[in-house]
C-alpha cells in the first residue's frame, strides 16, 4: 500500500465520519424536539408523571437547557416530588455554585417541602455569594415572599440595608409586608422612612397608609407612629403633613388645626393651607374648629385674596354653633312652625349677624355680600322673629343684587314668608308670583312658590281659587309640593261640604299660627271648639291648639289637648298624629318616659296601619334602650 492510498483511505474515513456526524446530529435534535413536544403534551393533559419521565431522559442529553430544566422542575413540584427537584437543582448548582437565582429557587423548593430550615440555609448561601449587592437581597427576598415566609423576608431586607450601607433600602417592600401582616405601626414607620428619603413621595405614602386607615386599629397605629416621628423631628414638613392628614381621617379637627397652622406658617403659605383646612372642616361640620381657623386667618392675613370667603365662612360657623345650642330645636326643625326663639332678646346669633354684616360692608361687590344678607334675613326671621329687620335686609338684597338671580329667588321666597308673617299678604303674593311664574311649575322653588300662593287663597277663605291652584300642583306626582297640595285639597273639600264658616275660621287661625302669633292662634282655635263643636274640624282644631302650646313650650297644656282628643274623639282620623305628638311631648318636653311609651303603644294598638307606626316603634325602642 502506498502512502497516497493510505492517506486517501484516512481522508475518506474522516470525510465519512464528518458526513455521518453532519447527517446524524440534526436527526438527533429532531428526535429530541419531538420528545420535548410529547412531554409538553403530556403536561398539558395533566399526565405529569409521563412528562417527567421524558423530561428526565432529555435532561440526560442536555443538562444546560434552561427551558427543559424549568419544565422538569415545574412537573416535579406538581407531583410533589420535592426530593427529586432538590437533587436536580443541586446537580445544576454543582456546575454553577454561585448562581443566586438557582439558590433562591432551591430555597423555595425546600420551603414548599415544609423544610424552612433548609430553605433559609440555602437562601443564606445565596446571600453569601454577593452580600453587599442590593439585587442579591431583592432576588432572595422575592423568593421568600413567594414562599410566604414574610418574617424572614423582612429580616433579610433589613440585613440588606446594613450590608449595603443604605438604611433607606427596601422601605416600600418592608412597609408592604408589615401592612399585610397587620403590623400597622411598623408598616407606618417604614413608610415614614421612605418619606424621609423621598419627600416627594408623600402622596404615595398616604396611599399606602390609606390601605389600613379604614380600620380603627390601623388608623390608631399609623397616627401614633407618625405622632412619634413628628415629635422626634418637629421640623420635618412631610411628617407634619402626614400627621395632619391622619387627624383629618380621624376627624380630629382640633389636632389637625394645630398642625395645619404650623404647616402654613413654616411653608409661608400665606394662609392658603389653613384656609383649605377651614373650608374642609366647615363642610365636615367641625364648626368650632373651622371657626377658630377662620378667625386666625382673618387676624393673620388681612389682605389675603381669600379674605371674603374666610369672613363669610367665619360667619357661617358662628351661626351653626349657635344653632346647635338653640333649645328651640328640641322638637326638630320638622315640627310645624316649631323652630322659633323663645324671646327676641335672645343674644344668640348676634355674633353671626355682626360677622355677616362685616362681609356686606367690606365686600359689597362680591357674591358673599348678598349671601350674607340672605343669612342675616333668615336669622332675623327664623331665629329672632324680627320681621321688620328681616324685611329690610331682604329688600336691600333684592334692590342691590339683581344680578345674582339664584340668591334673588331665595330672597323673594323668604321675603314672601316675612310678608305673610307681617300680615301683608298682597306683597307676599307678588313675591311668590314672581318666583312661581306660569303653570306648569318646574323646579322645587317654583313649585314651592305656587303652593304658597294657593295657601294665601286658603287663609283668605277663597277656597275655589285655592283648589284651582292646587290642581295645577297635583299634576306632578313626583314633586314634594304635590303631596302638600293633595293634603290641603282634601282638607278643604272635606270641610266645605256642609258650609264653609268653620273652615274659614280655622284658616284664619292657621294664618295667625303661620304668623307666629301663637297666643292669638290658640285663642282663635279654642273659640272654634266652642262655636263649631259639632263639625268635623274639631279634632284637627285640638291638634292645632296642642301644636301652638308645644311651640310656646306650654307642654302640660299641649298634652292635655292631645289627651282630650284621644278621650273625646276616639274615632278621629287625626288621632294617630295626636298620639305621636303626645308621645314626643312626654318624651322631650315633660321627660316622662313611661307616659311617652304608653302614648306610642296606644298608637300602635289603635292605629296599626298609621303612617306614624314606624316612628312610634322607633321611639319606644329608643326610650326602652333596646340595642338595635
Amino acid at each position: 500500500m502506498t502512502m497516497p492510498s493510505r492517506l486517501t483511505r484516512t481522508l475518506s474515513a474522516i470525510l465519512f465520519a464528518l458526513l455521518f456526524a453532519a447527517h446524524s446530529a440534526p436527526a438527533q435534535r429532531k428526535d429530541q424536539d419531538i420528545k420535548f413536544r410529547l412531554a409538553q403534551s403530556y403536561e398539558r393533559s395533566g399526565d405529569y408523571t409521563a412528562a417527567v419521565a421524558i423530561y428526565k431522559e432529555l435532561y440526560l442529553h442536555d443538562s444546560t437547557n434552561v427551558v427543559l430544566v424549568e419544565s422538569l422542575k415545574r412537573d416535579l413540584l406538581q407531583l410533589k416530588r420535592y426530593d427529586e427537584a432538590i437533587i436536580l437543582f443541586q446537580s445544576i448548582l454543582r456546575r454553577t455554585p454561585g448562581d443566586i437565582n438557582l439558590l433562591g429557587q432551591l430555597g423555595s423548593i425546600y420551603a414548599q417541602n415544609a423544610d424552612q430550615k433548609k430553605a433559609t440555609e440555602t437562601w443564606e448561601r445565596a446571600v453569601s455569594m454577593e452580600p453587599k449587592t442590593e439585587t442579591t437581597y431583592r432576588f432572595v427576598g422575592s423568593w421568600a415572599v413567594q414562599s410566604r415566609m414574610f418574617e424572614y423576608a423582612i429580616a433579610l431586607y433589613k440585613r440588606g440595608r446594613t450590608a449595603c450601607g443604605d438604611p433607606q433600602l427596601f422601605t416600600s417592600d418592608i412597609g408592604y409586608l408589615y401592612g399585610i401582616m397587620l403590623n400597622y405601626a411598623d408598616a407606618t414607620k417604614e413608610y415614614l422612612s421612605l418619606l424621609t428619603k423621598s419627600p416627594g413621595q408623600l402622596n404615595f405614602v398616604q396611599s399606602r397608609i390609606a390601605t389600613y386607615t379604614g380600620k380603627a386599629e390601623g388608623l390608631a397605629a399609623a397616627t401614633a407612629s407618625v405622632q412619634q416621628a413628628a415629635k422626634a423631628e418637629p421640623a420635618n414638613m412631610e411628617y407634619q403633613k402626614l400627621l395632619a392628614w391622619l387627624y383629618m381621617e380621624a376627624k380630629d379637627f382640633a389636632k389637625a388645626y394645630d398642625v395645619y397652622k404650623w404647616i402654613d406658617e413654616k411653608t409661608a403659605a400665606g394662609g392658603k393651607e389653613l384656609f383649605a383646612f377651614a373650608e374642609r372642616t366647615l363642610r365636615e361640620k367641625g364648626y368650632a374648629v373651622a371657626s377658630k381657623a377662620y378667625a386666625s386667618l382673618i387676624s393673620s392675613y388681612p389682605n389675603a385674596e381669600f379674605l371674603p370667603q374666610t369672613k363669610f365662612g367665619y360667619a357661617r360657623t358662628l351661626e351653626e354653633i349657635d344653632l346647635a345650642k338653640d333649645t328651640i330645636m328640641l322638637f326638630g326643625l320638622a315640627a310645624a312652625g316649631g323652630s322659633r326663639p323663645e324671646t327676641e332678646g335672645n343674644p344668640a346669633y348676634a355674633g353671626a349677624i355682626a360677622a355677616y354684616q362685616k362681609v356686606v360692608v367690606e365686600f359689597p361687590s362680591l357674591e358673599v355680600a348678598p349671601r350674607s344678607l340672605l343669612r342675616i334675613a333668615e336669622i332675623q326671621y327664623e331665629r329672632y322673629g324680627d320681621l321688620d329687620a328681616s324685611k329690610a335686609s331682604l329688600e336691600n338684597l333684592i334692590a342691590r343684587y339683581a344680578a345674582v338671580p339664584q340668591i334673588i329667588v331665595d330672597a323673594r321666597l323668604l321675603l314672601a314668608e316675612v310678608s305673610v308673617a307681617r300680615g301683608d299678604v298682597d306683597r307676599a303674593a307678588v313675591q311668590y308670583d314672581a318666583v312661581a311664574g306660569k303653570a306648569p311649575y318646574i323646579g322645587e322653588q317654583r313649585e314651592r312658590a305656587a303652593y304658597r300662593l294657593a295657601e294665601l287663597d286658603y287663609f283668605a277663605g277663597r277656597f275655589k281659587e285655592c283648589l284651582t291652584k292646587l290642581a295645577d300642583l297635583t299634576r306632578n306626582p313626583t314633586s314634594d309640593a304635590a303631596n302638600d297640595a293633595l293634603g290641603l285639597q282634601i282638607f278643604i273639600q272635606e270641610n266645605t261640604a256642609s258650609g264653609d264658616a268653620a273652615i274659614k275660621e280655622f284658616a284664619q287661625a292657621a294664618l295667625l299660627q303661620r304668623q307666629r302669633k301663637l297666643s292669638e292662634a290658640a285663642g282663635r282655635f279654642e273659640s272654634i271648639l266652642k262655636t263649631y263643636a259639632g263639625t268635623p274640624l274639631i279634632d284637627e282644631t285640638l291638634i292645632q291648639i296642642g301644636a301652638a302650646y308645644t311651640q310656646m313650650r306650654r307642654y302640660k297644656e299641649a298634652a292635655s289637648m292631645f289627651e282630650r282628643l284621644a278621650a273625646e274623639y276616639p274615632e278621629s282620623i287625626v288621632l294617630d298624629q295626636s298620639l305621636i305628638q303626645l308621645g314626643q311631648i312626654y318624651a322631650l318636653g315633660l321627660k316622662d318616659v313611661p307616659r311617652a311609651i304608653a302614648a306610642y303603644q296606644q298608637l300602635l294598638e289603635k292605629f296599626p296601619n298609621s303612617i306614624y307606626v314606624s316612628e312610634a316603634r322607633k321611639h319606644i325602642r329608643e326610650l326602652r334602650g333596646d340595642t338595635l
Partner: protein, 431 residues
C-alpha cells in the same frame, strides 16, 4: 343517627284543647295567634317574636301547615305589646277559638300538626373575626329578626366550644382552604391579601402547617358536633366546600397560590366520599383560577349568566306534618314557589346528592336542588344554596340587603325555620 323526634305532646295539646274549651267564657284573649300566611305583616320578625317568647319562658306552639306555619302563644299582654312594637301581625283569640284551631290542626285528615317549642336555642355563627366585604344572609336575617347569636371561629371550634351551642351556622366560608377561589379576580385586593395572612397566622397559631389542614380539622370538629346531636346549617359555598373538605381528608386539593405547594395530582382519586354528609361522586374543579370548587354547584359559578332571573324559581316539597315533622318545619312558608337567587354555590346537582339526604326544594324538571336536609349521628344538617334570597346576584362589595324592605321574604323564611326547629320538644317517632 337520630331523627328529630316527634311530639309526645299529643296529650299536651289535647289537654290544652280541653282547658281552652272550658275557659271560653273567661278573659277574651286566651291565646295569641301569629298568622304566617299572607295576613302577616312581617314574617321575619314573627320568628323573632317566637324566639323572644321562648327566652321569656313562654311556650310557643308551632302550628305546622296551619296558615302557613303560624305560632300560637299564651295571650299575655307583654306578647301583644311586643308584637306591636316589632310590627308583627297577630290575632287575639278566645279560648274557644283557639281550641277550634287546635282541633283543626290535630284532625287526622289534615296535613297539619302542632309542635311545642320550649327552649330558645343557643346559636353560634362561625365567622371570621375581620369583616368581609360582603354580607351573610343568616346573620342579616337574625339581626333583623332580633335573634341573638355568638360569633365563633376556628379557635373556638377547635377548643370544643361548639358543645355550648344548640345550633351552628356556617357563615359564607370556603372550607377547602382556597380563600373562596377569588384568586383570579382579587389576589391583589387588600381584603384578600389580609384575609390570607390572617388565616395563615391563625393556622400557625393553632399548630397547623397549612390553612387547608386547619379547615380540615374544623370540619371534623363540626362533624363531631353534629354527630353528638348538634344542628348545623350552611348556605352558599359553606355547603359544598364543607363536604369537599371532608372528602379531601387524605389529599391536597389546593394549588400553590393557596397553600404554597401544588395540588396532589391524584387528588380526585383520593377523595373519600364516605366522609361526606351530603354529596358523593363529585369531580373537583382543579383549575385554581376558576371560580368554582367542583361540579356539585349547578350551574357553575361562571355560567350563571345563562340564567334568567325572571324565570329562576324553585319549588318546596310538601311533607307529612304528622309523620315527617322535621322536613315539614323546615319548609314552612307562605309561598311554595320561591324566587331563585345566585351564590358562589347556587344549587346542588341532584345526581351527586347522597340517597340518605332529604331534598326539601328543587327547581322543577332540572337537576338543580336548592335545599337539602339530612341526619348524621344524633344531629342534623341543612344546606341551602345561594347567597342572598333578596339580592339575585350579590357581588363582592355590594351593600347589604335592607330586610326592612323584604319583611315577607319567603327565601329568608326558610333560614328562620332552621333556627326555630331545634327548639321543638322532642317526641317519640310514629314511624
Amino acid at each position: 343517627m337520630r331523627e328529630m323526634q316527634r311530639l309526645s305532646g299529643r296529650l299536651v295539646i289535647a289537654a290544652v284543647f280541653v282547658l281552652l274549651a272550658f275557659c271560653q267564657a273567661a278573659a277574651p284573649a286566651q291565646k295569641i295567634l301569629i298568622p304566617m300566611d299572607l295576613k302577616q305583616t312581617d314574617h321575619l320578625k314573627a320568628y323573632g317574636i317566637a324566639y323572644w317568647a321562648l327566652t321569656k319562658n313562654i311556650e310557643v306552639d308551632w302550628l305546622l301547615n296551619y296558615r302557613s306555619g303560624s305560632f300560637m302563644i299564651d295571650g299575655l299582654a307583654s306578647v301583644s305589646a311586643e308584637c306591636r312594637v316589632r310590627g308583627v301581625a297577630f290575632e287575639e283569640l278566645t279560648g274557644a277559638a283557639a281550641a277550634t284551631i287546635y282541633s283543626v290542626v290535630q284532625a287526622e285528615d289534615n296535613n297539619m300538626d302542632a309542635v311545642r317549642l320550649e327552649k330558645a336555642p343557643k346559636i353560634a355563627v362561625y365567622v371570621t373575626p375581620n369583616a368581609l366585604p360582603w354580607d351573610d344572609a343568616v346573620t342579616l336575617v337574625m339581626d333583623y329578626a332580633e335573634i341573638p347569636y355568638d360569633k365563633i371561629w376556628d379557635t373556638e371550634v377547635l377548643a370544643d366550644k361548639l358543645n355550648d351551642y344548640d345550633w351552628l351556622h356556617l357563615h359564607h366560608e370556603d372550607f377547602t382552604g382556597q380563600y373562596g377561589k377569588f384568586y383570579a379576580s382579587f389576589s391583589t385586593a387588600p381584603w384578600y391579601v389580609e384575609q390570607q395572612v390572617m388565616y395563615e397566622k391563625k393556622a400557625k397559631e393553632l399548630g397547623f402547617k397549612k390553612v387547608s389542614d386547619m379547615k380540615k380539622a374544623v370540619v371534623e370538629k363540626v362533624k363531631s358536633y353534629i354527630g353528638a346531636g348538634g344542628f348545623m346549617f350552611a348556605m352558599c359555598s359553606a355547603t359544598d366546600t364543607y363536604d369537599i373538605a371532608l372528602a379531601a381528608k387524605n389529599t391536597d386539593i389546593c394549588d400553590v397560590m393557596y397553600d404554597g405547594d401544588p395540588q396532589d395530582p391524584d387528588a380526585q382519586k383520593r377523595l373519600d366520599f364516605s366522609q361526606c354528609l351530603a354529596f358523593e361522586n363529585f369531580t373537583l374543579e382543579k383549575n385554581p383560577l376558576r371560580y368554582e370548587y367542583s361540579d356539585i354547584d349547578i350551574p357553575a359559578s361562571d355560567m350563571v349568566a345563562t340564567l334568567n332571573p325572571e324565570t329562576d324559581y324553585f319549588t318546596l316539597f310538601e311533607f307529612s306534618a304528622k309523620y315527617d315533622p322535621v322536613p315539614t318545619m323546615l319548609t314552612q312558608n307562605h309561598a311554595n314557589i320561591i324566587k331563585g337567587f345566585l351564590g358562589q354555590t347556587t344549587n346542588f346537582k341532584k345526581s351527586l346528592i347522597k340517597k340518605s339526604v332529604t331534598i326539601l326544594a328543587e327547581k322543577d324538571g332540572t337537576e338543580e336542588v336548592r335545599y337539602i336536609h339530612g341526619n348524621f349521628g344524633r344531629g342534623t344538617f341543612t344546606f341551602y344554596g345561594g347567597h342572598d334570597p333578596e339580592d339575585y346576584q350579590h357581588a363582592v362589595g355590594d351593600p347589604p340587603t335592607d330586610l326592612a324592605l323584604h319583611k315577607n321574604s319567603p327565601g329568608y323564611r326558610l333560614i328562620l325555620n332552621n333556627i326555630l326547629f331545634p327548639a321543638a320538644k322532642k317526641k317519640q317517632q310514629k314511624t
